[in-house]
Amino acid sequence: MDKSRRRFIQGAAGAIAGAVAPVESTQALRRENKQLPPNALGMLYDSTLCIGCRACVTACKEANDVPVEQPAHLREWNVGVWDSGEDISGKTLNTIRVYTDGTKERKDREENGYAFIKRHCLHCVDPSCVSVCPVSAMLKDADTGIVTHNPDACIGCRYCVYGCPFGVPQYQFDETFGKIAKCEFCEHLQKKGEIPACCDVCPTGASLFGRVDDLQQEAEQRLSKQPGDRYEFPRGRLGDDRPTHEAAIPEYQSHVYGVKEAGGTQIRYLTGVPHQKLGLPKLPDESYASLSEGVQHTLYKGMIAPLALLGGLIYLARRSTKQHEDEE
């Protein structure tokens, strides 16, 4: 091995070691979490207000033109009329799931109780789906922060389905020409000045539409009250003049889910039952995209490292091929 070759190999080994070795934890490799957009729109879902009527599910299906869904094992019980999808899917953009325990006596109780939870896109502040999509088919609006999907760009690789920590984007496996389905916060209705269908039809204000910072304040206000206090729960859009729904403040879990989870989301959850029991995963404050993009940007910054490596490889390959010119 001649000197220059050895120097190159040592250099390359050093560069690799330097890039990865001093990292005791993975923290140092992360880029910063992204920030909440200036006019972020979102939803406050208060599980204690939800009565499980699923009006939001029906309204969503109508507004987004997705069909009624019936799992095979429920089809006989319910002949073709009621939607009975058990979770979001390629044809169900939102749904209400139920938690039960023991005798199921009291609502919003962890033991011997039951509770409802709504499933749909959380419109992450730093979304994995946007980060992983190779063809920019997942888009996050720079102003409102709403995450939309462009099927004309999508190649159907399903990395967004695999990567989303909430299991939100879903591919239509049963279609010849399937596409990715996800809640786009009724972007088409918002363009006409309306609000997302689920919030519009919710009779109790369990799904409440609004600006994320206003919704955050509203959530904190509810938490600041004493259980049993009477409270005027807004409905539809926060700040609108719709009649409110008066009820007693329940016993809330003190944590507002969605503020910091996976770098933060634009949905806020208030619940009576611990979040993980309701299928809301425990997630770190760092967004998942911050690590993968951090590593990727470290290795490929300005393509300097790959180009330097290519230069070295060309040099070495040239010397070897010259030496063995007659071998072929």
Partner: protein, 380 residues
């Protein structure tokens, strides 16, 4: 033995094993037709929790690692300038050519919206932060590079020595690209998992994923070279390459040993001891994987064992099994989407994967029989 030249093997093409592979391939074609008519769900067990199955993990991620023979040998022959391994270069490249070309083909039938595939090449859709974007472009470029690297074989066959000489003049650039591109995308196949966070078991999730995938891909590349050489020299009664192979094996053995030790150190350094000894599938698969990595490592490092052709063949098989198991574990076993989702491939899904492998072997046989790929000749 004088330096022999590359020669086509000749011989009958439509042998019995060939017909069997053809039958397996036809079965796959039937299920693929079903997939294109009625959608992915009509053939596979893919679901909302497990959107990636064996067509991604086996056909593409493991398939391209099996195709790393060309990459691993180029690294040795041209970058570390070990000319003595040159006879292994062409068959290794051929393996790479099919591993990658068919892996690329498998991507097409796995893509849910394959008719938009070309969007990957349209600059206004480009998303450079996506690991998938980098992998896709790198793999496409590498398939092209492999065909150029292999093209002297065609040119020789066609008697176009002039073109071959011209190509040779800038071949070193192609060779360099042929090392750079797999270094990038084989490591990036590991980076694909960096976004998974707690959805992956801590036994597999680490910031070192890209390096682990790169190291194991190179090791698998050598594994396939050993396997291929042993099978071909025996089947076609060619001069044995055992001498070169036993020289190659300690390199591979130490590479594997380094991987296993570094991986364990990383896990211990992050304090992931509890999941190692949990009574669950993850822990079981983890130790099985370590075991299957350690066995070939021992054979390849031990001077007594590595001169034995049978042991070497076993080591190559184990090494490929270990790398494959690592990939299946990382992408499917370690991954838990929650919500009670589960996945096990359907029979048709498996048949498609088997059919793709059958096609690969058929094409390999056609190429070595018709084109000057291998060294030496069959005794008359």
């Amino acid at each position: 033995m004088a330096q022999s030249t590359h020669q086509p093997l000749g011989g009958k093409l439509l042998t019995k094993p060939f017909m069997l592979f053809a039958l397996l391939f036809l079965i796959a074609v039937y299920f693929l037709a079903t997939r294109f008519m009625f959608g992915l769900g009509s053939v596979t067990h893919l679901n909302g929790g497990y959107p990636w199955g064996i067509w991604v993990v086996v056909d593409v991620i493991i398939g391209t690692a099996f195709g790393c023979g060309g990459f691993a040998m180029a690294l040795l022959v041209y970058i570390f300038n070990k000319g003595e391994y040159h006879p292994l270069m062409r068959p290794a490249l051929l393996g790479g050519l099919f591993g990658y070309t068919l892996g690329g083909m498998a991507v097409i039938f796995d893509l849910g919206r394959y008719w938009n595939f070309y969007n990957l090449l349209l600059p206004w859709y480009a998303q450079p932060s996506s690991v998938m974007f980098e992998v896709a472009l790198c793999v496409m470029a590498y398939i092209l590079v492999l065909w150029i690297e292999f093209s002297p074989t065609f040119l020789e066959r066609l008697g176009l020595t002039n073109a071959k000489q011209k190509l040779k003049r800038f071949m070193y650039i192609i060779i360099a690209l042929g090392v750079l591109l797999p270094t990038m995308h084989q490591s990036s196949l590991g980076s694909l998992l960096l976004v998974m966070g707690s959805q992956l078991s801590p036994l597999w999730f680490t910031a070192w994923l890209p390096l682990w995938f790169l190291l194991t891909a190179i090791a698998m590349g050598y594994g396939i070279v050993i396997l291929e050489s042993t099978l071909i020299t025996n089947a076609f009664k060619l001069p044995s390459e055992q001498r070169i192979l036993s020289k190659l094996s300690p390199i591979v053995g130490w590479l594997l040993a380094a991987f296993v030790v570094l991986r364990l150190i990383d896990l211990l350094a992050h304090g992931h001891v509890a999941p190692m000894f949990a009574a669950d599938l993850n822990a079981f698969m983890f130790w099985l994987e370590i075991l299957v990595f350690v066995m070939p490592t021992i054979i390849l490092i031990s001077p007594a064992r590595r001169t034995d052709q049978r042991q070497m063949f076993l080591a190559a098989l184990l090494l490929l099994a270990a790398g494959s198991l690592y990939r299946i574990n990382a992408f499917l076993v370690a991954y838990d989407p929650g919500n009670g989702w589960s996945y096990f491939p359907s029979a048709p899904e498996l048949m498609v994967t088997i059919g793709v492998i059958a096609l690969e072997i058929m094409l390999y046989l056609v190429f070595v029989k018709k084109l000057p790929v291998l060294h030496g000749t069959r005794p008359a």
